[in-house]
Symmetry: C2
Subunit: 495 residues, 2 copies
């Protein structure tokens, strides 16, 4: 067997353990007996340490080096390209640092939970400082050209830089801040999704229905409940989504299901035979987010979607018979100055991200102290969103990401939104999206995404992929145009 | 760190992977998406191969050797004793043979499924022959003194031999065959557990109720549904049971839940800190079965249990208000000449096992050909049970065990029954069992089992344990007396 074949076999062998890890994690979040948590954390640590050690072993390095000489096909060349990127990246982090990171982030997460519960930032601050120190050490080891934060950004969105973000953000922020002001002057929408008490079992039925409509394959997946909805791939033909129900707010479960469904369709579209290989994954976090946001917002919150879906909704919740399509559509698109990112609408969402990006970039470059965070957070909230949290649990303590040490991740959410709009405009050149949605012909839309994005998996860098799919580099004008087009129509106001 | 500490750490590390394996297997049987099966088989193979390789590594051998010199406490000495037993045993099997065994048994299982479906033994026969060849090679490598079958028996019930079984069986068989004849002459019981249609959700509630009553800790476990009920330990504080519902037969889910609950109470009683170590397990398959059978039969099918449990049953199924305790008790103890082992009552069950023991002992010693199996099976069924299957799916093809290659396992079921009765008589010296059951004071009964059996885990060989618990070696007279006492009372006939 040649080195290339050996390398592939090795990756697939390691993936068996990653697959087990995914199931252990999924189980932990959906159904694990409450007392089993301590031991579960122990095993997850051991297995993930083992996987890491296998991926960065010298033997693996040698196999990659040998296989690089053998790769002929485009597919194999892509495989080796990403094998090299990953290996070189992870190899720069010593196992002891990785272990320290695991231990400190686990502690920080517990501290964050307590701090959020008590709304007391001082409980979290010392842990955040420790995590930040480790993250900075990692960034230094990973290396960067201009800005230390780039090393972290690159982890989640290869090729993205602070400079590029700083070019994108100002005009986008100005537009969004202005749009919120204009919309709030005219907005007067009653949220029909909060009008009744919605039975959980019926909500479950509705969630399953919309997943089926989108093209999610229940033969190769499941839908369960977890505190924070997520999507996970256990292995080929096993992509699971979770959701959460609020009896007072039908929107919550519905759009989080559609969102996770978007992630899941991407995962179900990745070629099975590539699973476990460096190419057998999503292209990046932001590309992944573009798929979930596309389904959730571009499709799921469109007027034509509600034209199509209203009869399905009525079948399960007959009270909607007296509600017209416009009210459904408007209720799905209420714009509000709000404190919590995860509950934010499309217009304000990116403002939440910009705030986090600026803060973490400053933290990582030691331009801001951990202790100053709550103050600066609240100032920026006032500036961008016009609302200031009364307590830190609704402000700086709302997200778990920093406790996890995932600095550099937040921009993926914004980039995902921008990508989704750019992909949408490209799709409209090939398909009458509106008409397809109105007729429930989602297989054509999914087919387009499968061909252009899903089936390519991680054979390209995200920047390359978006260029191939849309014909150009990331440009925020598509998102701006999308917001203008949609919200001007909803609220009858020029944005 | 000394060798002993290193060894313990190593075992616990390996156990992390075994724990993942258990979860993957549990998931497969309870909830995995249907299309995920092929890949799941692949990962399970890889992870179990890895675990095996770790357990028999030379490094492990050296650690055990070094640690043997360090062990001082009783606990550590027991640990090293069983570490040595396991290591020497598994080391005798070359990894290639182990892999061949995995592959051939996986194929044999698929063939068995098809054969059972079609009731065509010829589909299964060639696979069974291959599996048998491997099993015989394993037995030869494992070694034995008198009978090749002893090598396999010892795998599941260390210390047990063909000779000992052949001493036990004849008189027991004679008694049981006679008992069935006497009972059937007078039996005339209407099965009240089959009288109504039993809603699945209510059955689920009933199953959970009886588990709680027994003392099963739902904070450290779950109950789910699978085609074949089982109990599995994912790790400390995570012992899960499954059951299965039949709307026409309440007995099915009820007693299978109590049975699995018995296994689970044993597992929940094993000290957490021993998990992963050679002592952190049940003492043997038969001792495990003694616990499940004790709860299912000795407790769950006793008159005093139904005196206590009737009001609980009525709360969920009010139709039982018109049924008296005696009818519940009799219905729980119907004796029948039947074809299927898993559905057999206490009186006939061991006859099914004796038949299997004789056949597999003959197969392993090449005294019987695979092709002759259906004929001999049917002859023995006529002789011991007085019924002959009309098709092989209800005869020789009913059990999956031989497809799994687990020759030597069946006797554990019978031994479990015998142990359970012997344990019961020992318990009666200390406790008024009947009175405790009548009052629902199961914590006293569980406390006794915890102290005498569960907390000792696998620090003793099964024969040693039973001697410590009951004061003597295994003796079938306790089982015989138990059957005489109970069934003479139920059917008013001298047995």
């Amino acid at each position: 067997m040649g080195a290339l074949e050996q390398l592939k076999e090795r990756y697939k062998w390691i993936y068996a353990f990653q697959s087990a890890e995914s199931l252990l994690q999924w189980d932990l979040e959906t159904q694990m007996p409450p007392k089993a948590g301590e031991y579960r954390a122990y095993i997850l640590g051991k297995i993930s340490g083992f996987v890491f050690s296998q991926l960065v072993s010298d033997e693996m390095g040698k196999l990659i080096e040998e296989a690089e000489k053998e790769a002929k096909s485009e597919e194999d060349k892509a495989l080796l390209r990403f094998a090299r990127i990953d290996y070189d990246k992870y190899k720069k982090i010593p196992p002891e640092l990785w272990e320290k990171f695991s231990i400190e982030t686990a502690k920080a997460q517990r501290a964050w939970e307590e701090a959020k519960e008590k709304s007391d930032f001082s409980v979290f601050a010392p842990h955040l400082s420790k995590v930040l120190d480790i993250v900075i050490e990692m960034a230094e080891r990973l290396g960067y050209e201009e800005n230390r934060y780039d090393a972290l950004l690159d982890f989640f969105e290869p090729g993205m830089t602070t400079k590029k973000l700083n070019e994108l953000i100002p005009s986008l922020r100005e537009f969004l801040v202005g749009a919120v002001s204009k919309i709030e002057k005219v907005a007067d929408v009653e949220d029909v999704f909060k009008k009744w008490h919605f039975d959980v079992e019926k909500q479950r039925e509705l969630s399953k229905k919309v997943l089926r409509v989108m093209g999610y394959d229940f033969g190769a997946g499941r839908m369960d409940v977890s505190a924070h909805p997520f999507t996970t791939t256990i292995g080929p033909k096993d992509v699971r989504v979770t959701t959460r129900f609020d009896v007072h707010d039908l929107k919550y479960s519905f759009f989080s299901t559609v969102h996770e469904g978007g992630h899941a369709l991407y995962e179900q579209g990745i070629p099975d035979e590539w699973r476990g290989l460096p190419i057998g994954d999503g292209a990046s976090m932001a590309i992944h987010e573009s798929q979930s946001r596309f389904w959730e917002n571009v499709i799921g919150r469109s007027r034509s979607f509600w034209e199509f879906f209203k009869p399905h909704l009525e079948e399960i919740f007959p009270q909607f018979k007296d509600v017209n399509v416009d009210d459904l559509w408007k209720s799905a698109n209420i714009v509000e100055r709000s404190l919590i990112r995860t509950e934010a609408d499309e217009v304000t969402y990116n403002l939440h991200i910009m705030l986090r990006f600026e803060l973490e970039e400053a933290l990582v470059n030691r331009k801001l102290n951990v202790e100053e965070l709550p103050k600066v957070w609240n100032e920026k909230m006032g500036e961008y969103l016009g609302v200031v949290p009364e307590k830190d649990s609704e402000g700086v303590l709302q997200d778990v990401h920093w406790a996890h040490g995932t600095f550099g991740y937040f921009p993926s959410y914004m980039l995902g939104n921008l990508y989704s709009a750019q992909i949408y405009f490209a799709m409209r050149k090939d398909l009458d999206v509106d008409e397809l949605v109105r007729n429930g012909q989602f297989e054509k839309i999914l087919g387009w995404l499968r061909e252009k994005i899903h089936s390519r998996a991680r054979t390209l860098l995200p920047g390359e992929l978006i260029e191939q799919v849309t014909g150009e580099q990331l440009d925020s004008k598509y998102f701006v145009n999308y917001i203008k087009e949609k919200y001007s129509r909803i609220y009858g106001v020029e944005l």
